[in-house]
Symmetry: C2
Subunit: 472 residues, 2 copies
Amino acid sequence: MREIFITDVSLRDGIQSLLATRVRGEDLYEVLEVLDRCGFWSLEVWGGATFDVCLRYLKEDPWERLRKFKDIAKNTKLEMLLRGQNLVGYRHYPDDVVEAFVKKAYDNGIEVFRIFDALNDTRNMRKAIEVAKKIGATVKGVLSYTISPVHTVEYYLKVARELVDMGIDIISIKDQAGLLSPKVAYELVKALKEEFPSYPVHLHTQTTADLAEMAQLKGIEAGADMIDTVFYSLSGQTSHPPGETMIYVLREFGYKVSVDENLYKKAGDMFREIRKKYKKYDVLPPYPDVGVLKHQIPGGMITNFISQLKEQGMEDKLEEVMQEVIRVREDLGYPPLVTPTSQIVGSQAFLNVLHGERYKVVTKETRDYVKGLYGRPPAPIKEELIKKILGNEEPVYHIRPADLLEPELEKVRQEAIQAGARSEEDVLSYVLFPLVAKEFFEWRDKFEKGQAPPPYTEDIMQEEEERHKAPV
Amino acid sequence: MREIFITDVSLRDGIQSLLATRVRGEDLYEVLEVLDRCGFWSLEVWGGATFDVCLRYLKEDPWERLRKFKDIAKNTKLEMLLRGQNLVGYRHYPDDVVEAFVKKAYDNGIEVFRIFDALNDTRNMRKAIEVAKKIGATVKGVLSYTISPVHTVEYYLKVARELVDMGIDIISIKDQAGLLSPKVAYELVKALKEEFPSYPVHLHTQTTADLAEMAQLKGIEAGADMIDTVFYSLSGQTSHPPGETMIYVLREFGYKVSVDENLYKKAGDMFREIRKKYKKYDVLPPYPDVGVLKHQIPGGMITNFISQLKEQGMEDKLEEVMQEVIRVREDLGYPPLVTPTSQIVGSQAFLNVLHGERYKVVTKETRDYVKGLYGRPPAPIKEELIKKILGNEEPVYHIRPADLLEPELEKVRQEAIQAGARSEEDVLSYVLFPLVAKEFFEWRDKFEKGQAPPPYTEDIMQEEEERHKAPV
Ligand SMILES: [Co+2]
Ligand SMILES: [Co+2]
């Protein structure tokens, strides 16, 4: 009887997908206590937007949240999503910052690092993998899934080989846009299990286009060992398959899944209440985004275009911009449309349509991308486009982007302390988000002296009041 | 290349599942025109609650709607769901009414009859099947799916054999409660295709517990030929899988599916707007009901219990009532919990808990059920329970329930005409729903003289106004 291991991602990806990461730590401690006894292989609780939102909006120290989580979760490994050399930020950080961050994350409670790079340039993942392995953490090496002529099974086998050679423990397929079909899931997992028979394969799929449950099922038929789910009340829309249903299905097919049913139900109902409390951020329609199957442009990007075009009085250009997104993505070597490449491709496509000429105006980000500062594009960019954008400069695809960066930590530490950092963790927060962290430190000082209110007090009070008035 | 045929059920089951059937015909004509050119095998547009809601709330003649639909749909067969001897009502009608109704439905535009009985007692389906076949319609003979010790693959093969012997064209699996798992879908379809290789197998699944997409995929792997889907904007929750996604998945696996992509997109967006207009009825949470996997009690029943128990100040008895539902269902031979058996089992369980003694008080419906007036229970009822409920009376399981009914049509015709019926179709409306039809006829008379407003005028005006004010 094959065992399938479940990672619950409610506390990170579930809440990020449906509630804009806006849920405060104190609303999660109680449910985490239940989750910890459910029998999951791990709990994904940190990374992605957690850091930014905690500091910026919730006025919550993300390190402090992690320590509290770790205190509560005595039985289950805590896992985080790490954007390779980007860590939990939006640019490449130098190696000294990567090393310090991974170590501190581990010290504060993270045992499993899920490490990815949007371009699948493993040079952007190498440092984080090395550090995590050295300190004894478990590493999931991620294949970022997208659809394009170059993103074939062979392509992913090659990326997986590089990651395996770097010492990862688990091969993880990450379908951030919800594009992984059951057929491709089957073929990809099968090929990975044949090529790397001793490596567990982990499958992370988003329900955006309603493919995820089928993709997980076919992926498991092909040999996948681990999947990510959320509780029913945080499932569907742009989130993930409900664990309750997947476990029911898998057990019926004869797979072993170790979770406690009663605790499971309890936690699902607790998340339902959390979702009610934060309904202000719960704005997605209840049905899937099937457009993404056709043009692979995430719904969020299209919504942005609509409002940008409106501002310019160019509402009729939506179809044109969308077609241009597809062309720019092709020009740039088919990067997956996720942060930060979705912004790069989107802005450039918008400018190309706005100015009525392609690449007449080029953003700094497009330039950096073409130069290779984000890494090597998945497919080569045409010579003439490189010329048009870089002029006489040469791209630096042969150089690992972080090799171009000076160490930062020592240089910034004094500045961070002056801004209010009290610990090495604070210094890291400052390095990652200087302005936001500084504001947070200042708020924290005032708050401790009773000179600043807790964040959102009024909003949350009002929401709680409405909730008590509402019929069940 | 195997072809998979799609029936779109947006206009009947989609709108019934998500918008309480409250959408007026005039809001559907435009989208039907598009649907008709999409290339579906058929469109399910009538039956279920259509009749009742049209007459009662929408003040719309259901026959008139059907004729308009037929006028518009020049390329695609129209299909209806028929509750066997119950037709579109809530009790058994005598054979003369069944015959007249099926004929008139055919005359007015229905070419495919999907005929079921909640107890899978084929004697309740025989008359409708015979009439439909005789007039040249296509018949889907339905297996009503539920989970119980008696509802095995062998059980369904036996029911299918009876239906095949009655002359049906297509074997149809109807999973009204969303309980059909991918494993059972596979096994059931496989067994049916082996036993009846020349019969197409059709699969109707509800997304209630998030099983439906997986069940359809595995059912098709096992040989199913036809599935039911809705457009993306009416998919999920207690409705159905999105056709857009299923077609994408099936084509990728190499199945042939004949639909026009561009029209498909257009219709999906039109349903999105319809859904906005009727948002008042759009009240379900965006996540699946996974409780049903555990106790098979539909969410709607539980909601009813909660309010009934509240009225009695017995809120703490919910778990007890739910356990009693499971026991009463077992006592009564495991009927599927759908109309009308969900009401029978639910009310009896509630009374059993309320009075602190099982079957101390017995409803008329429970009595009729035990006597056999609804047909033969799926599993035998224990002798002592029959005694307790019927006393000295004997059950009549050996008699086809409709054989106990006198012809009705001639007897009621005069009464119907006096109530305002103007046509044979009106007479049938009256036989099915006498009070509701009479009220409708009276309203119609007044409306035509300008003495009564159209229904809901104010409500709908207000909704339309809000819609125009709202930001996109
Ligand atoms: Co994700
Ligand atoms: Co249905």
